[in-house]
């Protein structure tokens, strides 16, 4: 930016007490906080609709091929899925505690909790990768090489298509979440967050909990019924 913009900033930027955390175009910290929060909530609405399309497809094919889905769900690993659910809920708890720590200004606890959240998130992805490789070895990857020893191969394959699309999209969201979390960790270690400014921690938390909620539905839909 040129000199002019700094001039303009300079002239008008001092109208309010110039809190270093408040971006130039906001009037005050409260406005910025509420905007950030609303922005994330709106983003989560779009995420709900994003997964909604796949839930719609799931609903249709599940009613079309109830038997095939029953066969196929025998191929999913319920203990691993359940364990992963537990892991993800733990990571949600640590994330919530991270937000709380930032609200209370507990710097060390904040860093620890973010680290723990990342750890559990990674465990989840690791287990997921293991499940995928298990499916791979059984030839359950949909496509021309799909193998199904049993009834209704073509219909069973549709379930696996949905399984991989839904869990895959979910995993992508986890990876993105871990990316954001890394950035959060770095900034937290630099001591950027305080009881006056913890919005990034909170909205990352919202995102993380949302990803958790998606899994809360995926687990019964793909493993249990």
């Amino acid at each position: 930016m040129s000199d002019h913009s700094t001039t303009v900033d300079h002239v008008h930027g001092h109208a309010h007490g110039h809190d270093p955390h408040v971006a130039h175009h906001f009037d005050n910290a409260q406005q910025q906080y509420e905007s950030g929060n609303l922005g994330m909530w709106l983003f989560l609405i779009t995420e709900v609709m994003f997964f909604g399309g796949m839930f719609g497809a799931y609903a249709v094919y599940r009613t079309w091929y109830p038997d095939a889905f029953e066969f196929a769900s025998t191929a999913t690993n319920i203990p691993l899925g359940a364990a992963n659910t537990v892991v993800l809920i733990i990571s949600s708890l640590t994330m919530a505690l991270a937000v709380q720590a930032s609200q209370l200004g507990q710097q060390k606890k904040l860093v620890t909790m973010i680290l723990l959240t990342m750890l559990f998130g990674s465990i989840f992805l690791g287990v997921k990768a293991f499940e995928y490789s298990e499916k791979y070895h059984h030839g359950h990857i949909p496509g021309p090489n799909f193998v199904w020893h049993g009834e209704g191969g073509r219909e069973v394959q549709i379930l696996f298509c949905l399984y991989f699309a839904m869990t895959g999209m979910h995993a992508v969201h986890m990876v993105v979440g871990l990316g954001i979390m890394t950035w959060l960790l770095i900034t937290a270690m630099k001591g950027k967050y305080s009881p006056e400014y913890y919005n990034p921690v909170e909205i990352t938390g919202l995102y993380w909990h949302f990803v958790d909620i998606v899994w809360i539905f995926l687990f019964p839909l793909l493993y249990l019924i």
Binding site: A29, Q30, Y33, E34, N37, L38, W41, L42, L44, I45, V48, M49, G52, G53, F55, G56, A59, V60, T63, W64, E70, I78, A82, T85, V86, I89, I90, S92, L93, M95, A96, L97, Q100, Q103, L104, P195, E196, N199, E202, G205, L206, H209, F210, D212, I213, I216, F217, F219, P220, L221, L224, I225
Partner: protein
């Protein structure tokens, strides 16, 4: 300054409830062998509600966050219900089969 600070105890209670729900839903499926859509989804809904209200602070937050939750559920339902409307009612058509005894509806 801005948001409600939830005490650790509440978080732990909610966490406990979520764990119980998870164990319950797996137990119902594995040990009782019940493959019930209703039970599994009901438990999932309870879990999601707990996460939304407490972990995501919706219980204590601005009306707009609540509105966002309601809006997303509402429009997800529009999508699911109207799509299923087609699939459910496709078979309602008077069966269009070539050799059926013709229905006289005129």
């Amino acid at each position: 300054m801005q948001g409600h600070v939830t005490p650790t105890k509440t978080y732990l209670t909610i966490f406990g409830a979520l764990m119980i729900c998870t164990i319950l839903t797996v137990f119902v499926r594995l040990n009782l062998g019940i493959k019930s859509f209703a039970v599994a989804i009901a438990i999932a809904l309870v879990k999601a509600t707990l996460v939304i209200l407490y972990f995501m602070h919706v219980k204590y937050s601005h009306i707009l966050s609540k509105a966002a939750v309601v809006t997303s559920i509402l429009f997800l339902l529009i999508l699911l219900v109207l799509v299923s409307m087609d699939y459910v009612s496709r078979s309602w058509q008077p069966r269009a089969t070539p050799w059926e005894k013709h229905q006289v509806l005129e």
